[in-house]
Symmetry: C2
Subunit: 349 residues, 2 copies
DNA sequence: CGGGGAGGTGAGAGCGCTCTCCGGCACCAC
DNA sequence: GTGGTGCCGGAGAGCGCTCTCACCTCCCCG
């Protein structure tokens, strides 16, 4: 079918333009120091021949790939059930594209995949990695560290001990949770319950921490563990209602959970928000806007998270490339960047 | 920080094992014709040195990259609002991984991005492309064709004239629509309405066609255009109800649309499914399971679509690589593969 | 016991590019 | 005129790998 036409090489362009390979290379790579007349001739030759540099050959000598790996553990329902990952990806993609970098997607599933990813990263096929690590016991972080690839994490890694210069981007889960609680108390609610997410995920743990910040007195009776699913939200809500029928507000760790809680609340004859006010987290649109009543929730700028991750990584790569130790000191890589969240007020609280 | 240690080369392994580069290469690439004793020595040296082949160097000579581009137009709400894309990606990823291929993700947005993608594909950085083309007037298909890269499309391209050997994978939208209607008529419904999707997308057009297959007599009064969103579903449902208050069933082009319709139905005091039965399409879980009542819908195997796309592409690449004209004739690339859909019965119909 | 395989192994020529030299040339000052 | 000073541009050496050949053992058969 489509016979792969032999693509023109630098050599061919050089010949056509009547110059040497080196000159063509200089022009193609935007280096200065080539007389305009010559440069123009080269450019025309490039155009006429439809020359595109062979990335493999270039990488071979530069040791740069202009490619970044995005690593995500696939089985994490969170990653794929929500539109989250897609949105982060979009942010990442935009930023990488703007800097002429390619995005190599590595989805893992199971142990053997981890080994594969480790090998791939260690193999020096990409300049850096963007890793989504949501679980406390995630093997991925250790793996990429061993691979020795510059990395930025998405979400606070569980083992961030604040010292080892791990770079990550997260949204302000704790602050968002506080804002949710503050909103609820502002509404005059006093018996506020919290349905957590799976606590082996830092986002869930941080949201719980934020809740506790303002409700230090909340007995365990007002806190029930959920799992970021609506089914879990239902279960937890029932439990909570049985234990503490008089509660007047619920802060759910995410919107799915809140949707489940809402259903149980209605089923038990509680009016929302009159009897019980509900606040979610994420502002996951297809859910938050379509619950009954529409959900008041905490929004995070997912796409910006992705974009920021990419930006941080590329910046780090540049610094490394220029071997500029001083600037590395002048502007040390931030170890964690936390994006603000905002309260979106709808009808449920 | 992590000083990039100079990675061992084939040469280094060869020296350590006391053989020539060629032999190491043979072992590494699994070629036979190396005495077991030697092969073992080589393997040990590889292990000890932690040798990983340099893909750039390899590509330079083989002209193979073991990488496939996945191209998707980002602004299409469909691609990112649904978990669809993520699921297809997962299927694609699994299949590619199984064949040791990398996935390079290219998200486009706007005209200049198209040019960029075109250049990238034409640049021969990947062996093939998987392209999601949902719109009739999508410029992407023409672009990849010009780039001359082996391609498999996701979703039937609008311009598939049945002749030019375009390879694509789609789910059976038309058959699924027929199944939906058949289910409704089986329930004794006679005044069945259809809320379409945006008809410039082949999936929406095909679903409409399936509806028409069995309801050729359905006047335009029973067909209302939607846009795959719940808001559109609401609008269309109101319209339909005003125009034809006696309708007893609705087939919505997707679940989001159905969710919107459901809301309007309730608002207008119609009981579902008693007064009006509703069937959706997609079986988009967070939506279909959580509508009230839960949605009867047509499920498609999204992940399998992705997997199949990848499989088809890789198969084509293999054939091309082996230059095996005869097998190309013996097993011609299928021009379109259509995956079956199944009816998932819940409470709405 | 010698010749002809057959099967292993190594040498070496690139793949297409970048980048370091180094030579050439124009221009200035003396 | 001569020597210096830049700036351009070209030559050439690889980057790490694959792959074709040629060579070199052995082994088998006549």
């Amino acid at each position: 079918m489509t016979e792969t036409a032999p693509r023109p090489t630098l050599e061919a362009v050089a010949e056509r333009a009547g110059v040497s390979r080196a000159t063509v290379s200089r022009v193609v790579n935007g280096a200065h120091g080539v007389r305009e007349a010559l440069a123009e001739r080269v450019r025309r030759a490039v155009e006429e021949l439809g020359y595109v540099p062979n990335q493999a050959a270039r990488s071979l000598v530069t040791k740069r790939h202009d490619a970044v790996a995005v690593v995500a553990a696939e089985p994490e329902s969170r990653v794929f059930a929500d539109p989250f990952f897609a949105q982060q990806l979009r942010g990442i993609s935009k930023e990488l594209t703007a800097h002429d970098n390619q995005l190599v997607l590595l989805l893992t599933e199971g142990r053997e995949d981890h080994a594969r990813v480790g090998r791939y990263l260690a193999g020096g096929h990409v300049d850096g990695a963007l890793v989504f690590s949501l679980h406390l016991d995630d093997p991925l972080p250790g793996l990429v560290r061993r691979a020795g690839v510059p990395t930025v994490f998405g979400g606070r890694p569980g083992w961030d001990d604040g010292r080892d210069g791990v770079v990550y981007v997260d949204s302000d889960n704790r602050g968002g949770a506080r804002a949710a609680v503050r909103h609820l108390t502002g509404l005059g609610r006093t018996r506020i319950a919290h349905i957590t997410g799976p606590l082996d995920q830092t986002s869930a743990a941080d949201r719980l921490a934020g809740f506790r910040d303002l409700r230090a007195d909340a007995g365990p009776g007002l806190i029930e563990r959920g799992d970021f699913t609506s089914g879990g939200g239902e279960r937890a809500m029932r439990e909570l209602l049985d234990r503490c029928p008089g509660l007047d507000a619920v802060f759910a760790a995410n919107d799915l959970t809140a949707a489940g809680a809402l259903r149980v609340l209605r089923e038990r004859g509680r009016r929302v928000p009159d009897d019980v006010a509900v606040v979610g987290f994420d502002d996951m649109l297809p859910v938050a806007e379509q619950t009954d009543p529409p959900l008041t929730t905490i929004r995070q700028d997912i796409e910006e998270m992705g974009r920021l991750m990419a930006r941080l990584l590329l910046r780090g790569l540049d610094r490394r490339a220029s071997g500029d130790e001083t600037s590395a000191i002048a502007a040390p890589a931030p170890s964690g960047v936390v994006l603000p969240t905002t309260l979106v007020r709808r009808a449920s609280a």
